[in-house]
Amino acid sequence: MRLPLKAGAAAPDGEAATDPPRISERSAALIAAALALPGILPSHAHAQTAPDEGVVALRYLDYRDWQPGARRMTVRNPSLYALVPLGSSFAVEGSVIYDAMSGASPLYHDTLSGASGLGVTDYRTAGDARLTKYIDGNALAFGVAGSYERDYKSRAASFEWRRASADRNTTFAVGVAATRDSIDSANGVARNQHRETYDFLLGVTQVLSSDSLVESSLTWSDGRGYYSDPYKLLDTRPDRRRIFAWLTRYNRYLPGPDATLRVAYRYLDDSFGDRSHMVEASWVQTLPRGFTLTPTLRYYTQGAANFYRDPPFPEGSVQGEPYTADTRLSAYGAITAGMRLAKSFPGGVTADVAFTFYRQRAGWRAGGGGSSGLLEFSARWIEFGLEKRF
């Protein structure tokens, strides 16, 4: 299972563009009402037998977001991944990702005052490692993950069992993970706070034909502890969060155009109340000379958390009751459009570049009912990747 990666920036909202950025905003941006819903760590390791080839991959992501008239936040994410087969029945893999965030994510009302923070960058390092043992059509994987930054630390461990049928056309997976987070905010609001989450995953992959397959998985997550955002005034969230997610993916190869269609749908139900749907489609088109072009389109829609209140702040907040003005928990829809170009070179080397554009709008919520008083939010990210198989 993927060990939870921490959520990042706080939701944008309608803060005036003139306020100076503050140090804590980057931290706040890193702290999450964090959902760490794990999934299985995306991996090169197959269910059936130890991989034949090792992999080393490098990636660099450059992210920037903005709102009408508001400041920008930029994030730079270099990352590294490696998979090493050990003999014919073991494989070890791991990755490291580094976040360097600067600029400001406009916060609605935060508690920090004074600190100028201009030009300060916040850092976060996260990593994971996994060891898989293969016996006779079964794979057993044990993994650990961690994330570290000044005011938030996370550690997790996971275990997963995958089993393939005799004809290798059906694969089952079951996994568990446990996570412990520690929060110590720079402004002293959250002092020595903790959170523990347990996750359980059940999934199946079925090969439908020589050109198509489907995968479906269910994840249950149960967390207890501190969920509030200490950098937001009056932000008080329940101390328990239960999440259910159902993800289905389907791939089909089309010999005619020599392309693959990939579609995915995810339903997510959250005890916080922000139920969401996500649907995504990609078209992987083979081109001459080892090139591949992949356009992607994604639509996401979510409801607001039960305790989310529309602006103006602090309307709707009641002493002793959960409350948030964090627009990340508001109702909205979002569209992503992306394009990726990859080229494979002799010697098992692949290079790729991708550009993605993202926009969130309350008005795009499916069925209407998006939260009011919110500015449109946009982002773009560019990625460069290099991979070698050996």
């Binding site: 034949d52 080839e53 014919s88 005799a166 290798r168």
Partner: protein, 163 residues
């Protein structure tokens, strides 16, 4: 009467299902074309020890099995071993591309329709079948594993010694 009997016998034999290739049984027959165009017929190889290997361009372990089979060919061809590697790619150019990167010194034939792997009841890719001089399946290997090569080579030598 005798003609009727022979006709019936032929009809029964023709209708008989293909043998799954289990050890001890006669290997299923095949006659497949090589890249050069000539036909390789298993029946004509009776008297030699035959190592039949099912491979494909998309089968990554085959990148390691080919160099090993090349060594076997060099070492044992004159002693009576024939290696026949049956390619099952749907597209010939994929197989040819593989052979350019990983050359083969042994005989390579093509069966894009998949009749021969079906006759041998291949359970996984790659698969190899060691056939003795009498045409019987002596051993079946599923997958290619470096640690199995010594055992397989010992078996080949044992069969070659049995004249």
């Amino acid at each position: 009467m005798r003609e009727l009997f022979i006709t019936l016998l032929v009809a029964v034999l023709a209708a008989a299902p293909a043998f799954a290739a289990r050890t001890g049984e006669l290997a299923p027959t095949f006659a497949l074309a090589s890249a050069a165009g000539d036909t390789v017929d298993l029946a004509r190889l009776r008297g030699r020890v035959v190592y039949v290997d099912f491979w494909a361009s998309w089968c990554t372990p085959c990148k390691r099995s080919f160099p090993w089979m090349n060594e076997l060919e060099v070492r044992y061809h004159d002693s009576g071993l024939t290696i026949v590697a049956i390619n099952v790619d749907k597209r010939r150019e994929d197989a040819l591309r593989f052979l350019r990167d990983v050359p083969a010194r042994f005989t390579v034939v093509f069966d894009a329709e998949g009749k021969t792997p079906a006759a041998f009841d291949v359970k996984g890719m790659p698969s190899s079948y060691l056939i003795d001089r009498e045409g019987r399946v002596a051993a079946v290997e599923e997958g290619f594993h470096d640690e199995r090569t010594t055992v397989i080579e010992q078996r080949i030598r044992a069969l070659l010694d049995r004249k």
